[in-house]
Subunit: 189 residues, 2 copies
Amino acid sequence: MSTIADTTRNGIDTEQLFGTLDLIKEQPELARFQFRATNRWLGGAHNRSTIKDFYAAGGEDTSRGEEFEIDAGEPAILLGTDTGPNPAEYLLPALAACLTTTLVYVAAARGVHLTEVESTLEGDMDVQGALGLSDEVRNGFERIRVSFRVAGDAPEEKLREVVERAQARSAVFDMVSHGVPVEVGLVTD
Amino acid sequence: MSTIADTTRNGIDTEQLFGTLDLIKEQPELARFQFRATNRWLGGAHNRSTIKDFYAAGGEDTSRGEEFEIDAGEPAILLGTDTGPNPAEYLLPALAACLTTTLVYVAAARGVHLTEVESTLEGDMDVQGALGLSDEVRNGFERIRVSFRVAGDAPEEKLREVVERAQARSAVFDMVSHGVPVEVGLVTD
C-alpha cells in the first residue's frame, strides 16, 4: 500500500483533514470564514452570479484561478426562457451538495469507504405565495424531501450513523432547516 | 410603438404575467408546483446535481429541452480541488437570483422600467460548527448581508418599494430567512 492509499479515503486526504481539525482546535480564530457572491441582472428572468474569492483562516483566500458563473432563469410557464434553473430550484443542489459532502467527509473520518452516494430532492410549492395572490400561503417550499442512496464497506447501521451525522453538521441543512438572519440594503444612485 | 414594446417591460411579457395571475386566481389548484433535483457523488468534495423536469399547473412540465448540471466542490483549504462553488456558497446565488427575479417581475407589474440590478452577498461562517468542533457554534452562516444597486425610471422611493416587495414575496428569501421542514430518507441496498 502506498502512502496515498493509506491516508486518502473517499477522495479525501484524511491526514490533511485531521491536521486541519487539530489546527482549528488550537487556534479557533482560524475558523472565521466569509463566502461571497455577486449577481447581475441580464434581462427578464435571466441573471448571473459570480463566485471566486473568500476569507478563510485569517486572510483572503485567492487560491482559485477563475471565477464560477451561475446562471438563473425561469421556465416558460413562469415567463422565462430557461436561461438556467430557477432560483428556488437552486436551493435543492445547494442542500444536496452540502449533505453529500458532509456525509463523504464524515465517512472518511470514521473509516467508511463509500462506493456510491446519490440523492433525489423534491420541493413542494404553492406559487400563490410568491406570485402575491395569497397571504395565507408561504412563498417558499412547504417542505423538502431528500432521499439518499448510499453504498459502502460498512453495515447499514454504520451508514445510517454517517447520514445522521451529516444532517447534524451540514451547513446548508442547518440554514435551510432553521433559517438565517438576512439583511438587505439598497443603493439607488 | 409596437405591441411588443407595449406589453414587454424589463424583458417580461406583462400581458402574459397578468394573464397567469388571473388564471391562478380563478383556479388556485393550478398553483401547485414541485421542483426537483438529483445529485451524484463523483469522489472527494465533487458532486453534481441535475435539474430538468418539474410539476406545474396541473401536470408534468416537459418544456425544457435539456437538463442543467450543477457541479459543487470545495477549495483547497477545505480539502477539495475547486470542482465548483462549495455548497454553502451556492445558497448565495439562489438567494440573489430569487430576490432579483422577484424584484424584476414586481417592477414590470408596477410599471417601473429597470436599467440595472446588481447585488453583492456575504455570508459569515465559523467553521467550528460544520467541522464538528463545537456545539456552541451553528453549522451554517450566522448572517447573510445582501446589498442591491438598482436603477430605473422611477424615483428612489418607488425603487425602495419594489425592493421591499421583492423581499416580501421571494421564495428563497422566505426559505433562507424562516427555514423549511426537510425530511431525509436513506436507502442502503
